[in-house]
């Protein structure tokens, strides 16, 4: 990684409290452009909250967040133009067809040469032949593919994935894994939360473990074997008795 590479995501002292509950207790995160960082953590660790804050879906309680150099509090729309988000929610409209969903989002993202781009992206996720099917009739795995297509439609430079493997069966999960490989080998920045330790370790340049709203472990992907990762994970996320 070149020393002059820009910082895609940067947070300093990011906290998020919901009333009295502290979901994130001071996160300092730095993700360089083009880097792939994976975040592990048990349920309730704050992974989803972190992604939501970065996606501008939730407002930080304190701390600073910069995405692509833009301040989160002030440049929401500009940031949203540069990020693509995939979550366990699909962000899709069930009554509309595959094509209509993408058409709508193309308009909202002001995608140039809309028709061409839609055709392109459908090819990419293997849904070209299902253009006119209603999203509500698609299986979860297929919907997830469309969700990824939606996220990539406007060619974002930063991708945020929040446990995208949730609810996917074996086959769909395998597709997702392969797809992520192609995504992470490109120039895009990927920040990804997951429970899949093996895949995460394989793809990520850096791994982070989150527990109870705080970063409890951080290391370069290559410095760990999968066994070590399992051990570290178990150790870091131990609940006090």
């Amino acid at each position: 990684m070149s020393a002059n590479a820009g910082i895609a995501i940067e947070t300093r002292g990011l906290t998020k409290t919901f009333g009295e509950r502290e979901a994130l207790g001071g996160i300092d995160l730095k993700v360089a452009e083009g880097e792939c960082v994976v975040i592990f953590g048990p349920n309730g660790a704050g992974k989803t909250t972190l992604i939501r804050v970065l996606a501008t879906l939730a407002r930080p309680t304190s701390g600073t967040v910069r995405i692509a150099g833009l301040d989160l509090q002030r440049e929401g729309p500009a940031i949203r133009r540069r990020i693509g988000v995939v979550s366990h929610q699909s962000f899709l409209y069930e009554n509309l067809t595959v094509y209509e969903n993408l058409s709508f989002y193309s308009t909202m993202y002001d995608v140039p040469r809309k028709e061409k781009r839609i055709a392109e992206i459908l090819e990419l996720v293997g849904l070209a032949d299902r253009r006119d099917e209603r999203v509500g009739t698609l299986s979860r795995g297929t919907q997830q593919r469309l969700a990824i297509a939606r996220a990539l439609l406007h060619d974002p430079t930063i991708l945020l994935f929040d446990e995208p493997e949730t609810g996917l069966d074996q086959r769909a999960g395998a597709f997702l894994g392969n797809f992520l490989k192609t995504l992470t080998s490109g120039k895009r920045t990927v920040l990804w939360t997951t429970h899949r330790l093996e895949l995460g370790l394989e793809l990520a340049a850096r791994v982070i473990i989150l527990h109870r709203g705080k970063t409890v472990f951080e290391a370069a992907g290559q410095s760990l074997t999968i066994a070590e990762l399992h051990q570290t994970y178990a150790r870091c996320t131990e609940e006090p008795r």
């Binding site: 879906l57 929610q89 699909s90 009554n95 709508f104 002001d110």
Partner: protein
């Protein structure tokens, strides 16, 4: 600006498409409005003059209830699959979502009112061409839509969404309901426009204030 309008229209188009796909809903709301009017007709003896006196009230009760049904659906479906968050992820200011949704529900309710009003006029034996009713409808519906869109978004985020909307909506829109009924009364009675003027003034003031304020506080409802 042009981009904003395109996006607002895109939201309206998407909603329209989505709602038309579940055809039963639009027709059901129309039917519901009609049912309310019919039920009220049974509640009052058609022989007495009471029916004429309560007529404007009946019309606006029907529109209020039908409007609430429409509003309750405005964000409900969206919230289910994260469609609302999908909208929030789009690169635009959040209040565009408000304007898009507002335009959608406004158009929908105007269509319902346009269909129901002539039927109402026939049932209650009023002259069939009363254009002032259209103006009253437009202004009052705009007020309903202004606060209704905001409260509907709120209700979608609550556990008791069917009850949240009426509890919030009705007290706040009391001025609009009063004014719409009184203005309709004047219109149905063939009174000169001056009689309606102050009522329409109240509705217009309501619209102006709440279009601005609701649009402004809308993002607080969406963003955690």
């Amino acid at each position: 600006m042009r981009r904003s309008i395109a996006m607002i229209l895109a939201i309206v188009r998407k909603d329209l498409l989505s709602e038309l796909r579940s055809k039963e809903i639009a027709v059901s709301i129309l039917l519901f409005a009609l049912l309310v009017i019919v039920v009220f007709s049974f509640a009052f003896d058609p022989e007495t003059e009471a029916l004429e006196i309560v007529a404007p009230g009946v019309l606006w009760i029907a529109f209020t209830f039908a409007g609430m049904l429409g509003l309750s659906r405005l964000f409900a479906a969206e919230k289910e699959k994260g469609g609302l968050e999908g909208l929030m992820l789009c690169p635009m200011e959040r209040d565009l979502i408000y304007w898009g949704k507002l335009l959608g529900i406004f158009l929908f309710m105007m269509i319902v009112e346009a269909v129901i009003t002539p039927i109402f006029l026939v049932l209650f034996d009023f002259p069939l061409w009363i254009p002032e009713l259209g103006l009253i409808s437009a202004l009052a519906t705009l007020g309903f839509a202004a606060v209704g869109t905001l409260f509907s978004a709120m209700a979608a985020h609550t556990k008791a969404r069917d009850i949240t909307l009426p509890v919030l909506f009705i007290p706040i829109t009391v001025p609009v309901i009063i004014a719409a009924v009184k203005a309709a009364e004047a219109a149905l009675g063939g009174e000169p426009f001056g009689e309606m003027a102050s009522w329409l003034g109240i509705i217009t003031a309501f619209d102006a204030i709440f279009l601005v304020v609701s649009g402004f506080v809308f993002e607080f409802v969406l963003e955690e």
